[in-house]
């Protein structure tokens, strides 16, 4: 599902962030991506969301070669992926419902078509009763759940998360990561970047450690 073949990423005038990186993540597989700050975890996820382009190498996701993907095809690709951010990236002037519905609206769904899917996604993250509220009235953990509902509402093939528990206490972090584990058990490929070693040990899933631009499998 996700395949990095000798992927290098560097910025002009700066050191290589990722160097000759190789990785295979199969359909319905979950992996945690760990590493110190500045190791390149976010860059790797940016390559997967096509916010950045690879400098060298081949990066294939769900059969799409991201290295050669044309700009005009990027939106269609992104609609196959769900992304969760550390800072939630919610629209504070819109309701919880509207935030989640956005993913389906950009895909061209009408209000009637998307309604039951939005409600189902909110139920899945335990926010079925909060659909009318605005994000600022919610706790950090609840806001992150809204971000997750937005990322899964279109049942993506791949779910990516960049430090989704970065601002949460350990209990909430566990809840959120358990949620990701549920998604992968239902067939979604999940890649979560985290620096929370305690959660990594608890989850017991495949772990990839990124340091100095290189990936290492951790037992």
């Amino acid at each position: 599902m996700i395949e990095f073949i000798n992927v290098t990423k560097h910025y002009p005038g700066r050191r290589h962030v990722l160097r000759e990186l190789n990785l295979q993540l199969g359909k319905g597989e979950m992996a945690l991506l760990t590493g110190p700050s500045g190791a390149g975890k976010s860059t790797l996820l940016k390559l997967l969301t096509r916010l950045e382009a690879v400098s060298h190498g081949t990066l294939r996701v769900a059969g799409v070669d991201l290295a050669t993907l044309r700009r005009r095809h990027i939106p269609a690709y992104r609609r196959r992926v769900g992304v969760v951010f550390q800072d939630h990236k919610l629209l504070m002037d819109r309701t919880v419902y509207a935030n989640v519905a956005l993913t389906l609206q950009v895909a061209g769904m009408s209000a009637r078509q998307l309604d039951h899917r939005v409600r189902a996604a909110l139920d899945k993250v335990g926010l079925g009763d909060h659909w009318r509220e605005f994000p600022e009235t919610l706790s950090g953990g609840e806001q992150q759940r809204v971000g997750i509902a937005r990322a899964i509402v279109h049942t993506p093939e791949i779910l990516l998360a960049d430090e989704p528990t970065g601002n949460l206490d350990p209990e909430l972090s566990s809840e959120i990561l358990d949620m990701f584990r549920d998604f992968y058990r239902h067939g979604t490929t999940v890649l979560v970047a985290t620096h929370d070693q305690g959660q990594v040990d608890r989850m017991g899933v495949r772990t990839l450690h990124l340091a100095h631009g290189q990936l290492q499998e951790k037992a």
Binding site: P75, R79, L91, T103, V106, A111
Partner: protein, 301 residues
């Protein structure tokens, strides 16, 4: 493209405008004033041209006829003149009338009587619309008439027609330049407004882009915003011009009365009004398009 996507974008644009009612109203008023100025001037110019066109008794050409011209030849020439472009009326003045006029206006009765016979020729007086054709083509036409077999000579004072036409042409050109500059101003006003909206909605644009929104999906609400504001500004400009002309009608009536005439001002017709709305909508949309093209690329990931 599904209708519901367009309606969704339209609703989004409407909500954005209603969320900032004062800013929206100020933009619409600024645009309306920008549109009302050249439209008001165009309409005033059109009224002036109508007024000048009614001054045909001031633009006359006298064609003096040979004494032996037959009544049939005179009648034929008269018909021919009446069908010429810009000719409002053709009047025949026979020798006796010419003499009577001369005596009346020149007060030279005694001198004329010493001549024994009437030396004044019959003539055809041609009344022209001074703005119907250029002064050069008018001059050429007079030249042509003067070479008619029964015409002895032609007398015209076309210099004032040329001057009048030059003044009207200058006014028209000045209004065109003003209209172009103000249209540019309208595009810039709208462009700047949309730029600010893009800045304010940077997060929304970024998030929409991350969840797979196409560029057209992102830019459509901004274009509709420009279109809506342009349409509203067009209607407001129409209203401003109508009110301005209604307010001016009183003093114009008074002035016309002093000259013993009447001059009803013509504001915009319904067709012209809707053309104004159409143009302002197009300029609003164009301003948005420029801003979106210029600023959205920097925002969309």
């Amino acid at each position: 493209m599904s209708l519901h996507i367009r309606l969704q974008a339209l609703g989004n644009a409407r909500d954005t405008l209603l969320r900032q009612p004062i800013a929206t109203a100020l933009t619409i008023i600024a645009l309306a004033v920008v549109f009302a100025l050249p439209v008001g001037l165009f309409t005033a110019l059109s009224n002036l041209q109508q007024l000048l066109a009614s001054w045909h008794n001031q633009a006359q050409i006298s064609l003096y006829l040979h004494d032996d011209a037959s009544p049939q030849a005179v009648a034929q020439l008269r018909r021919q003149l009446q069908q010429s472009p810009g000719v409002v009326a053709v009047r025949f003045v026979d020798k006796n009338h010419a003499l009577a006029d001369f005596q009346h206006y020149a007060g030279m009765t005694a001198a004329i009587q010493t001549l024994g016979e009437n030396p004044l020729p019959a003539s055809l007086i041609v009344e022209l619309n001074p703005l119907a054709q250029s002064s050069s083509s008018l001059e050429a036409q007079v030249q042509q008439w003067s070479h008619e077999p029964i015409v002895r000579s032609a007398q015209s004072d076309l210099k004032w027609v040329a001057r009048l036409q030059a003044i009207v042409a200058l006014g028209t050109r000045a209004v065109y330049i003003l209209a172009i500059l103000l249209a540019l101003g309208a595009v810039l006003v709208m462009g700047n407004t949309i730029r600010l909206h893009i800045e304010q909605r940077r997060d929304e644009i970024e998030i929409s882009s991350l969840v797979g929104a196409t560029k057209s999906f992102i830019r459509r609400p901004f274009l509709y915003q420009g279109l809506i504001q342009g349409i509203l500004a067009g209607f407001l400009a129409w209203l401003i011009v109508a009110i301005a002309f209604a307010v001016l009608q009183g003093p114009v009536d008074h002035l016309a009365n002093l000259y013993g005439t009447s001059f009803p001002l013509h504001a915009l017709t319904v067709g012209e009004g809707f053309l104004l709305v159409l143009i302002s909508a197009a300029l609003g949309w164009l301003g948005s398009l420029v801003a979106v093209g210029r600023h959205l690329d920097n925002t969309v990931s």
